[in-house]
Point group: C2
Chain length 397, copies 2
Amino acid sequence: MKVLVIGGDGFCGWPTSLYLSDQGHDVTIIDNLSRRAIDGELGIESLTPISSMEVRLGAWKELTGKEIGFINLDLATDYEELLNILRDSQPDAVVHFGEQRAAPYSMRSDTTKRYTIDNNVRGTHNLLAAVVETGQNIAIVHLGTMGVYGYGWSGSAPIPEGYLTVKVPTPDGEIDREILHPANPGSVYHLTKTLDQLIFAFYASNDQLRITDLHQGIVWGTQTDQTALDERLINRFDYDGDYGTVLNRFLMQAAIGHPLTVHGTGGQTRAFIHIRDTVRCIEIALTNPPEAGGKVSVFNQVTETYRVRDLAQLISELTGIEIANLPNPRREAAENDLNVSRDRFLALGLNPTTLSEGLLEECRDIANKYRDRADTTKIIARSVWKKGMETSPDLVM
Amino acid sequence: MKVLVIGGDGFCGWPTSLYLSDQGHDVTIIDNLSRRAIDGELGIESLTPISSMEVRLGAWKELTGKEIGFINLDLATDYEELLNILRDSQPDAVVHFGEQRAAPYSMRSDTTKRYTIDNNVRGTHNLLAAVVETGQNIAIVHLGTMGVYGYGWSGSAPIPEGYLTVKVPTPDGEIDREILHPANPGSVYHLTKTLDQLIFAFYASNDQLRITDLHQGIVWGTQTDQTALDERLINRFDYDGDYGTVLNRFLMQAAIGHPLTVHGTGGQTRAFIHIRDTVRCIEIALTNPPEAGGKVSVFNQVTETYRVRDLAQLISELTGIEIANLPNPRREAAENDLNVSRDRFLALGLNPTTLSEGLLEECRDIANKYRDRADTTKIIARSVWKKGMETSPDLVM
């Protein structure tokens, strides 16, 4: 299968590109390297020493004999070039990771709010408009987020995979209607994924585009079998207050002896998935596209749910590192339950990697190996959801 | 009340600006004159001879002694300037008409699809981000569209004003949930208004912005008491296949002896409102903003519903002009019923102008007076919803 991976330089995009190439697909990465530029803007580096795209792709070819193409292109602005690429390369599918993906960064300032909206919405829409314009039957797989649903909206019912059947009252009695699960985004970043959903629904209906939207949980872990082959292929590991995700942050904090930073009560329950499962899910989605003329195919891309304070407790017990309860910079429920349907990927053969399978150790080893690269001034989350909300000073000097 | 009217040069924005000024409000128009630029792009002129903004505002001052300010600014791109204006002028409210508003234009090409998405979403989000950034308690009134709901989705129940209470099944029994009415947009233009809704909901919740969203029907008529004062104040009248709306198009076609262009069966039922009521509704919305911290206040801004073929028949009987049934360039249901709740404006004192009140005549007079300005090559609707859909050749040479 010929696949373009937009955002193929990022945390999910890079291991996905390698996995798809390893599985025999013909992969070309499209990326404007914006994630590296934001590292520069924030004065941060990945805990792991990531190589340039040129070195990454050279190493992959040297080790496997497989070639991955690379085109430096900004999806939000370089529309004509995108169109030419689709026409010239005639891909079977496009995987779209090309969005700003950090909730705290999206709330950092009016500049980052605007960048997140403008970049994500324009990029997604440009891709759909271009696919329509080519007239080619290109399947699209997009990385969404569990955050489109919000948390705990539907009472004791599990969060369904995209669609919900509700009863609508009418003068003639109730009627059943299947609706897209109502949107309850918790940040400007999450908001963009809810906008994407409506854009997808329109293009699936008006133009019969074949679109899959994957509502992913919080990714943990760093390496896949492919990125672990050689240090030049290593995946990025974010630990800072904006881009670091909760479990990886705890693992890194434990590795350097920094208190585990729990915001608020830690009563937030979140959905998780290992990066090894992310890449498998993408391939499953690619090989199981919806029919043209049908609705958008939505999967919940999660394998386990945990309460944040329970995760912190688990890691504290494994490592002896204390827990620090800090002010919560987000506007969100202090405590929530979370029950997520995830039947579709399981039915298609996903065999999930769980926290209990010793992978904590592997991940901790990455954090330990590169602990000297940590900048402890970047650990505390300082992007607040509204001006004036409290944050914590640095805990380790 | 100090009010900024974004898009105050357009078909709804201009008469609203005059009406608010006439009512004693302190009005400043913000507009990048994009609607005039699109006239140029399409090789069209308003049937009525609209004056430049300078002439318009000079005439208003000469006739009434009232001053309306004007700032030429692109909401989608001139963010810093917008922020400075909000800080300097300290408005009580902003009325936001600043969006590309024609469904056919939004489907014309990939360029116009992309312009509509980029312009509308970025503009709306810039406004909200700027209001948050100022920290000022500025109310926002936005012009939405009935098209966010789609047509006929909720069975025999009238389309509610924004929100719908549905029953959600759970293992513990059904629970009631109030949701934003599910989005069913029929074009990229309508899609942008559904995206706006989600952006509004987020900012009303996260930042306690006070936002009113007005889901307007199809506007007919041209003049208000204010625009009729002097020809230099005349409102625009669009009759072309992209920007002309159905009833005004019929009136103009009748005036020049052109067959009345009904697409498909004409079985589409649509909601209408006269431009005189539009401007009144805007003032009612301005003077009845929601509380901070509440949800977005949604009104259905419509007064009557008609089936397109019935409207054509009515005008054909009045004028003796025949009806031409043309291919439908839109992807939509051939026939639909439409039942719309519109209690909120009526409760706040709106006394609607109906078709039966002789205003057809006034409107026809405008069409008759300026009939020599018509370009008959611009009447047929040629923007199709998908490539290859059929349209009609010109009916009058």
